[in-house]
Symmetry: C2
Subunit: 219 residues, 2 copies
């Protein structure tokens, strides 16, 4: 299967949308780099190879229509949804959440019991999903820290390959995570866009994060 | 501690409110009956005695600000929140859910991880909460079935006594559960009110359910 990355950027369940020049290249390159790293760490993904700058070859998966979120620091929806998490507060242990992909219903939270009762995943798969997510978190967090970045949270989507093995699918880049500069706390991800940043600022953030993550200038 | 029952009835996070003649007496009597039954089944509650027709003496608890819901048949919020549960569908196993008591935020769902990460309950307590809820369900379901009623779902609130033991608190009556006539499927609970039933119909439902549950006419 071939996956084409795009320059479009959206937020607020698609209400807000724009185009960021060459964002597709940044996201494809970052995704490829991170998927490669996960594979090296024995975490199965759908990644095969980057065929062109914005075209990724991946294994076919039957996706579970769920966003799996893992948080190290409270931010975003967690802070909006509950009164007891403060923005920027470090969580004692990483927090894993499941959200149904359903824009109309604004991606409602699913408990583990909901996942199982709805037939979205078996009990065994829910356990594996959490294990995979925590492993991705551990690997990604160390990777970012070496580059001076705090991994606040990230989102993955997971599917089953032809053997039924769970693999990380979709994409993994600064559209799907929050990363903050370790020293200054500066936001280095899509939140710049969500919070109404100018499109040239948004673009600069993507190019900067490319450089930080891949260790070379974005040309 | 003394608990005074009232004739007021509310729905939609307090937006809708009315008075049902002698509802307090019905709810106090039903709560007392059901709490007594739970105590007999070795489930700790806050119930001590009914001092007057609408006044209940209970143990002091430090309440966990969470509504624990248990469902046998899909209805209400579960059906509204997710596309894969159909109204009236029997669930394979009882489903336990936690909701934060927070009207302003419309009682958001909490996963077990949220319960623990927020400090609302320890991991051990969450496990016990689920065990207590499932035991209440098992006992209450059988009780209702003998009276020709299907227990669709119910809500309990739980607190810690001076020893830290978890006990079922608050109230347990047809305000806090869905019960349907086993044969006709007729609604015998507060949904009559939620769905805009006339107040005399609502009152009649409360008196009828009193009779079904307590086995004697409401006089």
């Amino acid at each position: 299967v071939l996956l084409r990355f795009k320059d479009s950027i959206t937020a607020l369940d698609g209400e807000k949308h724009d185009v960021i020049h060459r964002k597709a290249e940044v996201n494809a390159a970052v995704s490829a780099e991170l998927f490669k790293m996960l594979e090296q760490e024995k975490i199965p993904t759908h990644f095969l190879r980057l065929k062109e700058a914005t075209l990724m070859q991946v294994r076919r998966l039957r996706m579970i229509p769920v966003e799996v979120v893992c948080r190290n620091i409270a931010a975003g929806k967690l802070v909006k949804s509950y009164p007891f998490f403060k923005h920027g507060e470090k969580l004692k242990t990483p927090l894993v959440e499941f959200f149904l992909k359903d824009d109309k219903r604004h991606d409602p939270l699913l408990s583990e019991e909901h996942m199982i009762a709805s037939g979205l995943a078996s009990k065994e798969e829910v356990k594996k999903l959490k294990m995979i997510t925590l492993k991705v978190n551990s690997v990604l967090r160390k990777f970012m820290l070496k580059r001076g970045l705090l991994l606040v949270d990230f989102k993955i989507e997971v599917g089953r390959d032809h053997r039924g093995t769970l693999r990380v699918g979709d994409e993994l880049n600064i559209d799907s995570m929050r990363i903050w500069d370790k020293k200054t706390g500066e936001v280095k991800d899509k939140d710049i866009y969500r919070k109404g940043g100018r499109l040239d600022e948004v673009a600069r953030t993507y190019y900067q994060s490319y450089k930080l993550i891949l260790g070379r200038d974005f040309k």
